[in-house]
């Protein structure tokens, strides 16, 4: 089947044309560092026993997540998943709130009610994921439907893993979005494993993006470790959708660089795969690109690294000061009140 395989990104000029100036690029780099930093610090907190339950990260997916989020406009909305911390960071969620979420504290976006990346700041256009995969896709398509009904120039972005692509929710979402040509972008985080399950048991084509044609829209495969290539493809798809051109399926190819969750040593992933993909670490690749193409200086690099480090340390401290949720409030808010709807989205 014919899908487009996206080219890697070239020069600074090309990137400028795609809408990012040098400052933006340093910002992208910073967001990727924060993303990884948050998850690395999360690991430490977990080992310290400060994070209850399990713990998931998206190591290796920072470029894909930040790339897509950078291409979204403020008014666009998205349903990022457990490998997409970069989306939350790029949209402006403060790391201390994420640490508070990890630790089940009152100041996490879910106030200790849910854990991990099961959170979102709706004011920033994100909707909190559920565990059930890819159940957020129909929800994202519903957002796109709302934009179409109201004739707003907004786009919804829905993420899913290559494993979750096997579920009916993916199909029904793409069917509704495709038949109605909704302003929707589907982003497949293809990290080659669904827990321990390799891709050949999840889909029988070469690429997940091959399926886009079956829903009447375009599919594209992009190297998910190349943040700028992802950005370019996402930008293109998002603006196409905004202009009424219908959905696109973008498949970001990466490798999940850690176990499924913290307890999993990923023994089933061949060592050579890890070695090969370690060579195209998204952050390291982008750092090199910035030095080669955007003349990022040692000083700039150090500044960013230092500011990220500081941010993370103060964020962890602040999060640790956040109180435990009050058990007396456990059953509050099972049902919404009319005042709850009094948000910008509901006018």
């Amino acid at each position: 089947m014919a899908v487009r395989e996206a080219e890697p990104v070239g020069s600074l000029n090309e990137v400028r044309e795609a809408g990012l100036d040098r400052d933006d690029l340093l910002g992208v780099y910073r967001n990727m560092l924060i993303t990884r930093g948050v998850e690395e610090r999360g690991h430490i907190l977990y080992r310290q026993g400060k994070i209850p339950g399990s713990f998931y990260t998206g190591r290796g997916n920072e470029g894909a997540a930040v790339g897509v989020a950078t291409a979204m406009r403020t008014e666009d909305v998205g349903t990022p998943l457990h490998r997409d911390m970069g989306v939350h960071i790029t949209r402006g969620v403060e790391p201390w709130r994420i640490f508070a979420q990890y630790m089940g504290r009152q100041d996490g976006p879910t106030h200790g009610r849910d854990g991990n990346v099961h959170m979102a700041d709706q004011q920033l256009g994100l909707i909190a994921m559920v565990s059930h995969l890819p159940a957020m896709l129909p929800v994202a398509v519903g957002c796109a439907l709302a934009f179409r009904i109201r004739e707003e120039a907004r786009v919804a972005v829905g993420w899913f893993g290559e494993g979750a692509s096997a579920r009916g929710d993916a199909h029904e979402s793409m069917t509704l979005a495709g038949t109605r040509r909704l302003p929707m972008v589907f982003v497949c985080d293809n990290n080659q494993f669904a827990y321990s399950t390799p891709t050949q048991y999840e889909y029988a084509t070469e690429h997940v993006a091959d399926r886009a044609q079956a829903y009447g829209f375009e599919g594209v495969v992009v190297d998910g470790t190349d943040v700028l290539a992802v950005y370019r493809e996402a930008k293109r798809a998002i603006e196409k959708a905004r202009a009424g051109g219908g959905p696109t399926l973008i498949e970001c190819l990466t490798l999940r660089m850690e176990g499924h969750a913290v307890h999993d040593d990923a023994f089933y992933v061949p060592k050579q795969m890890f070695e090969k993909w370690a060579e195209s670490d998204p952050i390291e690749s982008f750092r090199t690109w910035l030095r080669d193409n955007a003349e990022m200086t040692d000083e700039e690099e150090d500044d960013i690294a230092a500011s990220v480090k500081k941010l993370l340390i103060t964020s962890m401290e602040r999060a640790d000061e956040s109180p435990q949720p009050d058990p007396a409030t456990l059953t509050h808010g099972v049902y919404a009140t009319p005042e709850d709807l009094d948000t910008p989205h509901h006018k």
């Binding site: 909305v77 976006p109 879910t110 009610r113 849910d114 099961h118 959170m119 979102a120 709706q122 909707i127 909190a128 559920v130 565990s131 059930h132 159940a135 957020m136 896709l137 129909p138 929800v139 994202a140 398509v141 519903g142 957002c143 796109a144 439907l145 709302a146 934009f147 179409r148 009904i149 109201r150 919804a156 009916g168 929710d169 029904e172 979402s173 069917t175 509704l176 038949t179 808010g333 099972v334 049902y335 919404a336 009140t337 009319p338 709850d340 709807l341 989205h345 509901h346 006018k347």
Partner: protein, 324 residues
């Protein structure tokens, strides 16, 4: 006031809200050009256009999940299942996302799912079910089950206005059989408030939906025996009006809980258990339940009659209680 059928009252309520509030839209299979399998939305697409009366693909998850997304974006979706039975295909989206998103993430999901439900016309196992009990157990969902045209309109408007996911069970057997006065203007019927269908002093029947009329006929027979039956139409099953039920139970001291869904684990169990727990000292007889037997809904009329509680069954139950 106009005399409307139960079905017309539903249409009227939906039309009223769609005219008043342009955030309200309808999505479902065949709701547009065809006007819905039961013609509830006949003429709606002409009036409101194809993007407010949307012919969906045959995909209940996309319909309910899509409604959820649209609601989060500020619209007020009304999703129609062609038959309530097909809501099983969207169970996950209701219990996993719609029900929990407010509590979990502070995100209200103001959707209405319209569910043509109930038996009595040989619809067979998959066109006759009353699945309200399954949903009433899921915190975060509301379930309403009007029995009169007036309540059908008022509860639909309340459901649309409500900031929560509301499952609106419309009983197919009442669609064209039941008529009543319905105010022409917009009004709401409160969710969570029972209605005393008829006052009585000796036995209380707690019921909802089409069973209200079965109870009424049975009560007439008991009246001839000199037994006065009070009928409480719950109207909304979640939240349910426990205060009204307990008050009636305390007054009559004998209670029959009646529903069309199957018995074991049906919502009648919750009602009976609550009465038995909270009105323990006031009861002169055990709380009795009458419901469909624990099997699927049969197709054949003779079997279906044995399945759906009939007037005679209720009369029998009431006489037992009266004699206790």
């Amino acid at each position: 006031m106009a005399e409307l059928t139960y079905l017309q009252a539903i249409s009227d309520g939906l039309r009223t809200e769609m005219r008043r509030d342009k955030r309200v839209f309808l999505i479902g299979e065949d709701v547009g050009v065809y006007g819905g399998a039961f013609k509830v939305s006949l003429g709606f697409q002409e009036e409101f256009g194809p993007w407010r009366v949307i012919d969906a693909p045959l995909a209940e998850t996309a319909i309910v999940g899509g409604a959820t997304g649209a609601a989060i974006m500020g619209l007020r979706p009304v999703a129609e299942m062609q038959f309530a039975d097909f809501i099983s295909c969207a169970w996950d989206h209701l219990v996993t996302i719609a029900a929990k998103q407010r509590w979990r993430a502070g995100t209200p999901v103001p959707i209405v799912v319209r569910l043509p439900s109930g038996g009595g016309f040989s619809g067979g196992p998959f066109h006759s079910q009353n699945p309200e009990s399954s949903f009433a157990h899921i915190p975060g969902l509301k379930c309403v089950c009007p029995s009169t045209p007036e309540d059908a309109k008022g509860l639909l408007i309340s459901a649309i206005e409500d900031p929560n996911p509301v499952l609106y069970f419309e009983h197919k057997h009442l669609y064209r059989r039941i008529k009543g006065e319905v105010p022409e203007e917009r009004y709401t019927t409160p969710i969570g408030k029972a209605r005393t269908h008829q006052e009585g002093s000796d036995i209380s029947v707690i019921t909802w939906g089409a069973m209200v009329y079965t109870a009424e006929e049975a009560a007439q027979q008991l009246d001839a025996d000199g037994v006065s039956v009070e009928i409480i139409d719950l109207r909304t099953v979640m939240p349910w009006d426990k205060a009204a039920v307990l008050e009636s139970a305390r007054k009559t001291s004998k209670v029959l809980v009646l529903h069309e869904d199957t018995r074991t684990g049906g919502f009648g169990a919750e009602i009976a258990a609550s009465i038995a727990e909270e009105a323990f000292e006031d009861l002169d007889a055990p709380v009795k339940r009458i419901a469909a037997p624990d099997c699927p809904v049969p197709f054949s009329p003779v079997l279906e009659k044995a399945f759906i509680p009939q007037v005679d069954d209720v009369v029998g139950g009431l006489r037992e209680l009266a004699a206790y």
